[in-house]
Symmetry: C2
Subunit: 422 residues, 2 copies
Amino acid sequence: MKLDAASMAASSNEQRNRALENAAEKLRAHAAEVFAENEKDLAAATEAGIAPAVMKRLKFNEDKLNDVLAGIRQLVSLPDPLGKVSLARELDEGLRLYRVSCPIGVIGVIFEARPDALVQISTLCIKSGNCAILKGGKETTYTNRALFRLIHEAVTEAGLPENALLQAEQHSEIDELLSCDRDVDLLIPRGSNAFVQYIMNNTKIPVMGHADGICHIYVDKAADFGKAVPIIVDAKTQYTAACNAVETLLVNREIAGEFLPLLAEALKAEHVRLLGTREVREIIDVTEITEDEFREYLDLAVSVKLVKDVDEAVSHINRFGSHHTDSIITEDRETALKFMQMVDSAGVYQNCSTRFADGFRYGFGAEVGISTGKIHARGPVGLEGLVTYKYKLFGDGHIVGDYAAGRRQFHFRDLEKDADRD
Amino acid sequence: MKLDAASMAASSNEQRNRALENAAEKLRAHAAEVFAENEKDLAAATEAGIAPAVMKRLKFNEDKLNDVLAGIRQLVSLPDPLGKVSLARELDEGLRLYRVSCPIGVIGVIFEARPDALVQISTLCIKSGNCAILKGGKETTYTNRALFRLIHEAVTEAGLPENALLQAEQHSEIDELLSCDRDVDLLIPRGSNAFVQYIMNNTKIPVMGHADGICHIYVDKAADFGKAVPIIVDAKTQYTAACNAVETLLVNREIAGEFLPLLAEALKAEHVRLLGTREVREIIDVTEITEDEFREYLDLAVSVKLVKDVDEAVSHINRFGSHHTDSIITEDRETALKFMQMVDSAGVYQNCSTRFADGFRYGFGAEVGISTGKIHARGPVGLEGLVTYKYKLFGDGHIVGDYAAGRRQFHFRDLEKDADRD
């Protein structure tokens, strides 16, 4: 089935908002049915002996419903991301160029477990005028089917094309989707690291997201320990399963003797397991490992290593990190700026917790996800990550031959951006 | 060998401009040596029986030198693409977020034949603070080596890192480069369609460029024939080898009887071979082919097909086109706007030649290339296609736990963009 990206690109903001409002109404009106379908999934999961942590993510209840409804209301209130003019220029008399934002086209969304992700991402695609192919995890087949049906009805009743949204249900369809590089413009995977890594390694379609999040904090010799210790405790323990939790601490050798005992005491009080290089073990009690064994724990554990200076910290981060978010603790402005210029990550911080890397905390509202890629969108990505642009050129019989022969000249005059003829 | 992207990211605009000025001086001072090396390549090419058209592209003479020197001078005069602040926001008292442009990192440049491309792209990378791995065609080994040596000297003498530029000379190194998805952030191929297609199909690294350029012109029933005919002649004949030359004409069935004879007469006067569907052959003299046989000719030949309306034209273009540049000829504003919204191409034009799709004609100055991808940069790409951004967050001991517990609240206050502390 071919998705109707061209019609979606021509839809109005009013139609797209109406589809979102319809979706919110339908989800509210048919909540009991959705919850009943979710019970079927939960029962099957219980029978299959699914782990309690996963069970929690499978659940779609009143709380989750309220969250997605709040998200939809917020989306409706956002300005239209399409038709924004970022360049308006008269090339010559009667020849006007506009660079205008437009949908990317067809977004493939592949997610594990969480049925609320289906609602969240499909509504982001609707708002941004994209078509979406949605493939959820088999653990929530019943819930996904019920949610998809309601959203699809909402879309068609708003006059948007029947083929704006497509649901893929078979597991084999993941590989099929990954091979559709002619028809799918962007993939957004949501799930475990291994899952995202698999997607990234098995497709030619651009992937927006992140596999691992190996975030670092470098404690400089000019660090204020009174800031360093609480920041590290926060970054490690506030939510250990998050991709922006800190996984590796780099400590300047000059202050290690004084700082590490303070740090160890604070982390041990929070039951954080410490691992570190031999040099670290000579100062505090850690499980000795080499830097090649440092990894993403997503748990109450952290790796520690000593470095000579900010340059060595930068080298370590760029080599072993995942280009997500890294922080320096220092009172020295020059050192901080150097760190922030040289560390090749989406987020580079001074004197604050890596846990701030999040669309909500950046004040972005609706979040598509966090991207560690450097092409297109980077870091926490809002609706703008789902749009691209095209150049519209309005002429009146203009031909290049006239300019090549010198009969006419370009004059390149910038126009008011709101003067778009579109 | 590891490229020193971190040091390049920390370089100043002055250093990068000095490197460019050094390069221009050295190229001028050592022109005779470079031309002599080029003579060796040309002699080898003559001996190997290389086609005259290719020979022309291998040549590096006074004219080509003057072109690249003019390009370098223009690059020096452009503002620094790095350090531009596109978002500045105080999240809370003392917690300030900036989104700042920065280099992408390491750019792999793979080009066939033209040695001037080596100078052009390496200087664009220098200006934008990127490291570059340059792999030229074996036909110009001597010329490339001479050019690279001069540019590399210019870079190091300006105080930029030794490892900012790397030259790859072995053919086997192409496949090695394509597999370096951990170390290379973006590939820019320059060469034939088959060459670019090979690159795109054999790497996980994002590729910026275009393989084919199957551009369309749709002649609507509300077309002014006095504009349509010269535009089509220009788009087809002004420079047939260009990717933005028109390859397929779609003509509204209602006007075909009247329009096609006019068109055929004009194109035949320019020695353009006409190919078309059976329906077209019933009106004018064309070689009959089916729409599946339409292709990119890059020559004095064009395919013609009749369509019912703008919707059918859009469907054909989105299915058979290459998302490059497509034009509608119509006096009907609504039809034009619909075409421009629904055609999924980097350039969508009304009443002008597809040949306008070009960075110089858009007034962009230095051009990296034309991209038909929809992620990152699209259409003619200037320096901005070689930069990304990072988020810099400056705090003073801020932790997420305080906000999660409600002890502190974000206030999201936009700051002056020039107030960047960086």
